[in-house]
């Protein structure tokens, strides 16, 4: 087989340099990650067309000429024979749409409260000031809605909170439909379409996505930290494992910024999977180096590297297939998952075998000198072992 000299036999600390350089570079690129439409809101229009060719530059300028904020415009050959081309257009949400989103959220957050205050005021005349104040505020929001949507109604004319609620909902819905119709009209003047799909992410939806993703990150991170500490019950190996995984994710994020891979729900899922994978290789290394006795620590680290690289390569091969598949089908989900996974898997080779290995080797050597190596004690293996 390949006769590679053991890099951990000599001055292994130098191995930490490449991942640290990558990490610094990543920190520079992370702010350049652009958010997918799920997180920043907007409209994603996908068109299947039988038009022979679509001229990107003229289409974009024609759309912009009609006041449409096009943030991206992609044309590619349709993978299915039924159509010639697929066009993907991303449009940012207009100011009036953003306003409508905000007003909708504001109105519906308050309407029930106002009706409760009204009931209370009716019953005992109490809290009149607060009721009138809140009702006036609600009317103001409603009037803003009517003004924005071009309705001639005024909140004071409706006289009844249910009617007001219905009118507000109706005029917002009508406004949305009009906006969409205008947008589709403009698009069809540029590209003739046979099939169209419009994906609209409102501000409230995107903030809901962000909120949920944030929650998942928080829970996942805490759980992983707790479990890693439970497994090792010693500080240095735990920190080494977490540091390795953390570096991996940061480098992967940097690569997303560098290569323009958007942060979407799919790429977020891929990042979570990477956490698992990065921990896998780190755990393999740490277990082999710290909890075993055969040969020297450096030899064990080298052995673990061989296994780890084979593992990484297998995963890289699978995700490369997915990546190629995403090129053939232009499925965004495939592209985002595979691209992020590939970046992360490569980063993991540097992070685990550079940073993590250095810390663990240092620790093992010190322990060996102290003569206090611990025996391997499996924790979760009870029912699975032979």
């Amino acid at each position: 087989m390949f006769q590679i000299p053991n890099p951990y036999a000599g001055n292994y600390r130098l191995l930490a340099i490449p991942p640290i350089v990558l990490l610094i570079a990543a920190l520079f690129f992370i702010p350049q990650i652009h958010l997918g439409v799920e997180f920043k809101g907007g409209t994603l229009i996908t068109i299947a067309t039988n038009q022979e060719s679509v001229d990107e530059a003229s289409a974009v300028s024609a759309l912009r000429g009609q006041g449409i904020e096009v943030s991206s415009f992609k044309v590619y050959k349709s993978p299915a024979a039924a159509y010639k081309n697929i066009v993907e257009i991303e449009v940012a949400r207009s100011t009036s749409q953003i306003n409508a989103d905000r007003l909708r959220a504001e109105f519906f957050a308050n309407v029930d409260e106002v009706s409760k205050l009204q009931a209370q005021y009716q019953a005992d005349g109490e809290d009149e000031g607060r009721y009138l104040q809140e009702a006036a505020k609600l009317d103001k929001t409603a009037d803003e809605v009517f003004a924005l949507t071009g309705s001639r109604l005024r909140a004071s004319e409706t006289g009844n909170i249910n009617v007001l609620r219905r009118e507000v909902a109706a005029s917002l819905a009508e406004f949305n439909e009009k906006q969409k119709a205008t947008l589709l009209g403009s698009v069809s003047s540029v590209v003739k379409y046979d099939e169209i799909s419009v994906e609209e992410i409102s501000a409230s939806l995107s903030s809901k996505f962000i909120e949920k993703v944030g929650g998942v990150v928080l829970i996942s991170a805490s759980l992983v930290i707790i479990v890693v500490f439970l497994i090792y019950r010693t500080l240095v190996p735990s920190i080494a494992v977490l540091l390795g995984a953390g570096t991996d994710i940061l480098i992967a994020l940097g690569a997303m910024g560098l290569f323009g891979i958007p942060l979407t729900l799919a790429s977020f899922a891929a990042l979570l999977m990477l956490v698992g994978f990065a921990l896998d290789t780190s755990i393999l290394l740490t277990m082999r180096v710290i909890k075993r006795k055969e040969g020297t620590a450096a030899e064990r680290a080298f052995d673990a590297t061989k296994t780890g690289f084979t593992m990484g390569l297998a995963a890289i091969v699978a995700f490369s297939s997915l990546y190629v598949l995403s090129y053939v089908t232009h499925i965004g989900v495939y592209y985002e998952i595979s691209a992020v996974a590939l970046c992360g898997l490569v980063a993991d080779m540097f992070a685990t075998w550079g940073i993590n290995a250095v810390i663990v080797l240092d620790y093992a050597k010190k322990k060996e000198k102290d003569g206090r190596m611990q025996e391997e004690k499996p924790i979760f293996t009870g029912i699975f072992s032979n």
């Binding site: 609620r165 099939e195 996505f209 979570l272 896998d280 297998a314």
Partner: protein, 574 residues
Amino acid sequence: MISKNEFIGGASDRRVLALAVFTLVCIAWMALQPSMGVPAFMGGIVVVAFATAFWKNNNVKIAGLLCIVFLSLFSAYNNGLKFGIDFSGGVRIPILLESPVDSPTMDEMVQIIKTRSAAFGLTEVKVRPVGDSEIYVEVPQSNPQLVGNIEKILSSQGVYQGIVDGKIAVSGDDILPGTIGRLSTGSIGGADWGVSFTITTAANEQFSKTVKGKANSPLYMFLDRPSNAIVVINREELFYNLNITGVKMTQKDALAIVSKALLLDGDEIPVYVEEELDANNMSFGNLTIVANKTKAIVSNATSLVLKNALKEKGFVLVEKTTEEMQPVYSISSFGVSQNSLNMWRAIGLLSAPRLSPEVTKGISSPSYSITGAALGTGNARLLDADKNAREVESILKGGALPVRITLGSATSVPAPLGAEFLRASVIGAAIALIAISLMLALRYHTLKLILPVVLISLAEIIVLVAILGSFTIDLAGMAGIIAAIGVSVDAQIVVTDELLKKNTSESAHKRLEKAFSIIVTNVTVAIIAMVPLLLFSGLVEIIGFATSSILGSLLGVFISRPAYGAIAERLFEN
């Protein structure tokens, strides 16, 4: 290698036989009871997995893997594989709930959405809850018009009317929306459930005037009561619920009860008995039929001849199911004149509580409550009370959904594109498997190791596809399956490397144990990183990926790795 005798010896092991018999029973169950196909499949897998983990025997491990593969293949054949609209084509609209809900509320939401879709003629709509705060609405056709319709259906509210003695006592607009709420058991006297609400002062005057002196009269609560309509009912439907409860009544009496509920000044709904209508010579008295406007509510059991005759007369036909056409009576113990109708879905009559004497004495406070009794005993009674209260709440809110919703982004996939996606994805998965086999061949230079690795990976993919396909395989799920090919092989690599080690005196068995300790730790951590996405996020867009990753890991630990270990141990002993 394994000799014939050993093979027979292994197969005749009682535990192996038990697993084989169990598998056959599961397969028979799936085949004989298609409705139980998926539960039988899942149950079978879980039992085999635990048995394999519990018996810790090499023969059993391999047999367990084989059993699960057979179960999966049969399930894929028998139960079929379901694909999301990404692969089958169609439109999907995610609906986000404002706050997480419990499962009865979720069922209620799904039911309301289904009913409303059906009312708009969208019969093929699939409505399914995802987690506790999201609902998917999927239509197997792509059409922007349709999406608009669904949005309308979901945002539209029903119109509530409370009618007493042919007069509107209270209407939906009068009810202050924030005040509709459940009463606690302490404040409803002897009743099982109660819902309170407040109406506006102006409406309260009207209400008090309308109900004055009408103690114990029913308040007919309608949701979307049809106006300008007639009902044509057949005798079987008219008497259905009376017969069930064993109440004897003449047709005249039954019709009298029904008619009372249909009264409304200026917009009465006349009711006709199908058997008495002569298709050739129909007479509707002094009813003026406005062409294309006057509705005839008929049962879908109504004869075609009559339906055509009604159409000819100028009616617009509104068909209801037989079940909706059956009136539900409330038979009073205070005499025939007190009998009333409690529910009749065909015309939107959903409930009819009786007015308590206190509210019929003149102007009272504008806060009201509706209380009622429930059926059954113990827990069943509590559940029934809960169901009734929910229903009344929902009626008062105009049939609105119990929780505020945000419509998510509609995604549509043209069917030919979806089919192409699926074909390409299957090829992609095959290429991934072949590429990994080649890579392993280069790395280990030995076929005797690679064959089991590849076969076990293949087995795992089959099981994964069968399990996910019992629910739905979407894009994210498919990506997860392809990823699982790469990640699942990892553990086999750990085992192989451990066994291939030369500079150790330990037995293969001991080394396998070490490899498993690493693998189990790995899988635990990998699952823990993914589980929050699966359980707490409700992000359906990517839940498929989390599911396939986690399932892949679990299958690995419970089934394929032990089997690979058993095979590899044998290979290295020789």
